[in-house]
């Protein structure tokens, strides 16, 4: 939340919004390969993170340049993302940001039962509409 507040001053957002947002950190999101409810628009953490500085017992790791991707060997960032502290401590990261969205449209739909909700979700999944967030909840 501090991250989004500070990014706002520059007119940008990261768009990563896990349920744990109030008490989780960028390093934690990387360590746990986190997803967020707005991943359809902004991507999961592995899509958002471009470079990571990892301090290990043998030295410090980071990529020479934070290119979004490169057709040259395995992407070692992928080994760090989700490593849950096994290889070292994440001290820095470079992330993608996007301009603050022009609009935010919220809505909700009520279904008579879970099954018709799932059928709706499946129909949406087959289109290329990709709402920023689309979640199904019941009272159970």
């Amino acid at each position: 939340m501090d991250l989004e507040r500070d990014l706002k001053q520059y007119g940008v957002v990261s768009g990563h919004e896990p349920d744990s947002m109030e008490f989780s950190t960028l390093g934690g999101w990387i360590s746990t390969r986190a997803s967020g409810m707005k991943k359809n628009t902004y991507g999961n953490i592995e899509d958002i993170v471009q470079n990571i500085t990892l301090v290990t017992s043998k030295g410090t790791y980071n990529k020479v340049a934070a290119w979004p991707r490169i057709s040259n060997g395995p992407d070692l960032n992928q080994m760090i993302i989700g490593s849950e502290g096994n290889f070292g401590i994440i001290t820095e990261a470079v992330i993608k940001v996007r301009p603050i969205p022009e609009v935010r449209i919220f809505d909700s739909i009520l279904f008579y039962d879970w099954e018709s909700g799932v059928e709706f979700m499946r129909t949406i999944a087959k289109t290329n509409l990709y709402p920023t967030s689309c979640r199904l909840v019941d009272n159970q």
């Binding site: 409810m37 909700g117 709706f120």
Partner: protein, 58 residues
């Protein structure tokens, strides 16, 4: 799960909503399911996507 109400008017409005959904529209509270939606981005594009999604829901 619901947030606490600021006033008794809000509590009343909430009860009226519940009465409408359960007794008039005939939703079973044990079965009803909600889908929450968010569209973020370019105004025209998101309005169009929103309209298409709501059309599918009908």
């Amino acid at each position: 799960m619901k947030p606490d109400h600021a006033s008794s008017w809000e509590t009343f409005v909430d009860k009226a909503k519940k009465f409408f959904v359960v007794n008039i529209k005939g939703y079973d509270p044990e079965k009803l399911t909600a889908c929450t939606l968010l569209f973020e981005g370019d105004k025209k594009e998101m309005e169009s996507k929103h309209a298409q999604v709501m059309e599918i829901a009908k």
